[in-house]
Amino acid sequence: MTVDTTPLAGRDGPGGSVEAFSCANLFVEYRTRGQQLRVLEDVTFSCAQGEFVSILGPSGTGKTTLLRILAGLLRPGRGSSVRFEGNEVTEPKPDVAIVFQNYTASLLHWRTVERNVALGLEATVAKADRKSRVDEALAMVGLSERRHDFPWQLSGGMQQRVQIARALAMRPKVLLMDEPFGALDAMTKASLQDELARVQQLTGATVVFVTHDIDEAVYLSDRVLVLSGTPARIGYELAIDLPRPRNQVSTKESPEYLRARHTVHETLRSGSAAAE
């Protein structure tokens, strides 16, 4: 398997330290039965280009809401600021690809694997170039052999790989991932985590990764943001300085990993204790 190793985006761009996303004083309110329900409050953070940032929090804290705001699918409350590469996010951006939690629902079951992967290219990339982009993306996730299959002929892990390939084929600067491995079994999850880490190193893409799995967040990220409280805000922020490439066994045995994991656990527990 050969893979094009040139960085697809980000890293060596002008300035180097340009922020991919920055949010300031972001809040979100839903109106339910006449009541204003505030979901997110005063969320302020930024992530650098090429950085792997996890947004961690118990279910129902508004992680997906935050991701949809970054994706331009949802408008935050008035006065919030959400910027992508310095520009206000008001609609989905071409350089941002989303990987949804429900892979089965997100794939187009009437299309083969390769046509699913090509979906994001059809409107933007000339037909002649599409095939090589699809080949490249399928090679990255190791699904070249299953290109003519339909999604329902694949296992859950493979379906999620197809979705990741669909995002990668667009050569995005940013991958927004909404609990992508949440529904997978432990072994599949571990192998997809390593695959994602490898692909991210390869492409230099910025990843914003939503999860409720502490181990996953610490293992994958450069930085973990903990969402907690009601309305939720970023209660804690932790840089993870573990060397890359990381390893499911040795990294998880290292004292630094255990310390980071311990800290995040403590934060989440005290956060939920404060909320109750």
Binding site: F100, L108, A123
Partner: protein
């Protein structure tokens, strides 16, 4: 592998067809016996053998094929026209909330009126022509296709809507890549329903209004007191419906993406 499963599917299907033929064959034999032994003495119900010889005679004279062709043309022409109109109407009402709000009540009223009630109106407007039949057959085909299309294109899941938005697809691309494929299984079922309805209404239009085709022949044979010819036309109509449905199902399965779901049931339902 796929050719083997295809072959075994054809095998299973012809086996099913063979089993399904047992009952009609038995019924025809019983019918013939009851007539031949004189147990059933109604003169106006002819024996299968009498119907058969009437059919052969009409086939020889060319009368049969002329009438079948006429009815078939009216049915297929009306069905094709109605399906296209139904599809476009369904897309408009399914994709535009405003169009839906303003016109859904009218659609519900129009579709509640039996199509047969429009036959006298169509006779006045289009006189006794093939056109009139086509319009009636088209009218009855529009609604199942339109309703299924509305329902289908509105069934695009929230995840697919998010996906389409994040890919920044235009309205046309969203329709072609998401709405139509999502709606396709429902539309295909509607196409089959409306084809049967179009055949029925073509014959009704011939009975009521147009001096041509199977429907008119039925009335003629009734008035000339020829029940054998009447039964012949009735059985031929049934056969025609069967063949049309079979051909349509085959075409949809082989040439329309998503048509397979007709045979297998829809097992890839989202969420």
């Amino acid at each position: 592998m796929s050719s083997r499963t295809a072959k075994s599917r054809v095998g299973r299907r012809s086996a099913r067809l063979g089993v399904g033929l047992i009952l009609p064959v038995v019924l025809i034999i019983v019918w013939q016996l009851v007539k031949s032994t004189g147990m059933l003495s109604y003169q106006d119900i002819p024996a299968p053998s009498t119907i058969w010889s009437a059919t052969v005679a009409m086939a020889d004279s060319g009368e049969l094929s002329g009438n079948v062709e006429h009815t078939l043309a009216a049915c297929l022409g009306g069905w094709a026209l109605g399906s296209v109109v139904g599809l476009l109407l369904g897309l408009l009402l399914g994709l535009s909330q405003r169009a839906f709000t303003y016109s859904m009540a009218s659609v519900d009223v129009l579709r509640a009126i039996p199509a047969i009630a429009f036959v006298p109106v169509a006779v006045i407007v289009f006189a006794q022509t093939l056109q009139m039949e086509i319009v009636i057959a088209a009218w009855v085909s529009v609604w199942p296709v339109a309703i299924s299309t509305i329902d289908g294109v509105r069934g695009v899941s929230s995840v697919h809507q998010d996906l389409a938005r994040s890919l920044r697809l235009s309205a046309v691309q969203r329709t072609v890549k998401f709405a139509l494929p999502t709606a396709m299984p429902k539309i295909l079922v509607a196409l089959r329903l409306s084809l049967s309805a179009a055949l029925v209404l073509a014959i009704v239009a011939e009975i009521v209004g147009n001096p041509d085709g199977i429907g008119y022949a039925l009335v003629q044979e009734q008035q000339s007191l020829r029940p054998d010819a009447m039964f012949s036309y009735i059985l031929i109509t049934g056969l025609l419906g069967l063949i049309l449905n079979f051909v349509l199902t085959w075409v949809l399965e082989h040439f329309v993406p998503g048509g397979r779901s007709l045979g297998n049931g829809d097992r890839h339902d989202d969420q």
